[in-house]
Amino acid sequence: MAALLRLENVSKRFGGIVALNQVNMEIQYGEFVGIVGPNGSGKTTLFNVINGVYFPDEGRVLFEDRDISRLPTHRRASIGLGRTFQIPRPFASATVRENVAVGAMFGSRGKETNVNESMLVAESIIERMGLSRHRDKKAELLTPVEKKLMEIARALAMKPKLLLMDEAMAGMHPGEIDRLVELLGGVAAEEEVAIVAMVEHVMRAVVGMAQKIIVLHQGEKICDAPAQEALNDPKVIECYLGYTPEEAS
């Protein structure tokens, strides 16, 4: 079967800055992939290109073999691309349930779900994320971690085939991260959603879950390998430490 998502030689520049340089990658159906890279390495830009916030300057983005390089963001959502943001962006004045229901109303199942059905979908996902207590609260009243969870719930309500999570675990303590990773693992398997989680550092939790790790450095993909392999890759170690293990020893 063809890959769910394919990037072919994708480049994106901002003035003189090359945020993405000739990036190639593939994500398979149902796969859990970690994207790692230091600050400014191009992770958010990568998501923005996949998701249609920016169009690539060069190269192509293929989703289920279809070229979506120039498709508007909302159309990408309706064919199965979901996303959460680095800094949560809830619909502040709406309740948690309404926020999540919006995902069901307009995401990939939007065409066949009416308002009432969307509310039911929202309730079951909210329960799953452990947010039931906050269901009728305005989203702006949630704590930052709850907002993150709500954003994930909202994205899952869209029934995406691919879920991009930008710094999903930032600001959470280890217990919360473990719980979230476990939850996502379950969702990924059950709903067959491929999850691409982006994190600043290679974290134990992500390494444990991810089928593979992609490492970005200054806009280039420097590693694309199973987790353990990526951790031991000298190029990866160099980009985080600034020198190679050989030099050090």
Partner: protein, 332 residues
Amino acid sequence: MMRTLDKYAAIFPVLVVYAVLFLLGLNMSGMWQLMATLLFYCALGQAFNIFLGMTGYVDFGYVAFVGMGTYGMAVTITSLAGTGLGGLTIIAGYIMALAFSGLLSLAVGAVALRLRGAYFAIATIGVNEGLRFLIEGTNLWGGSGGIIFTRQLNDILGKDASSALATFWADVLVLIIAVLAAITTIVYMRSKIGYALTALREDEDAAKVMGINVTMFKILAFMTSACFAGLLGATAWALKTPYVFPPEVFEIHYTIEAIIIVMLGGAGTLLGPVAGGLIYGIGKYVLSIVLPGFQLLIFAPLIIIIIVAFPDGVVGGIRNKFGHTALGRFIL
């Protein structure tokens, strides 16, 4: 059935207020004109709220749509006078009013709604002023001389009927437009349209990521709101007073009044524009009697105080307090 009733329960307070205004006007001598004015303010607020309240975009050129509706009716009446169509002329006038304001809003919306925040607001001022200069400069529709169509209206409807229209029936039509605007608002709110608009009002980029075609929904709200403005113009500014002059119908002052009404009452709420229309209309009336000449001096700070006390508008504030009680479903 019960669930549907519950879903639309919030419309009842609006209808009650309109009914009370109507009955007061009918039964208390000398009150009709005041009630008609209040109804006009409520209708204007209700119409504007569909765009301003639901999308959060501020259209400083809103009055242009009222003006276009006025012209639609005026142009139709002057060109169809003498064809013997009678009352059908008025219906044709409404269709033309809808076409004028609808098409203008589609053209403006398709371009200006790509701008955000202050840029959108400035662009809309430009449209309003530009349209006025276009009409005056190119002598379109009588240019700066405007259109006076009292005689044509008399020919079409007869003298008695057209004076009954000006003094009574036009105001009843305004009431009907206000009710239609309120129904449209609650139907939008309870459907996917309302959720899409709430989402894009709160965060446009996040709304796109959810799969919402934000441009389409903004244009829909913009056009709906503009069409109601057109109906109001055709009624309150054309049928009630059968003349139209560019400086009057493109006067930005009316847009400001509409913004104040919506903000006072509560932007994006259903009952808000009614509350805002009443507070604004009654305030202006009372002050003009008590302190003639100084009303604005007193009124401006009063409005500021209300807006500071109720940042979400009067209805928004009440809803924040009582939204969770049994009465909550009537406050929207």
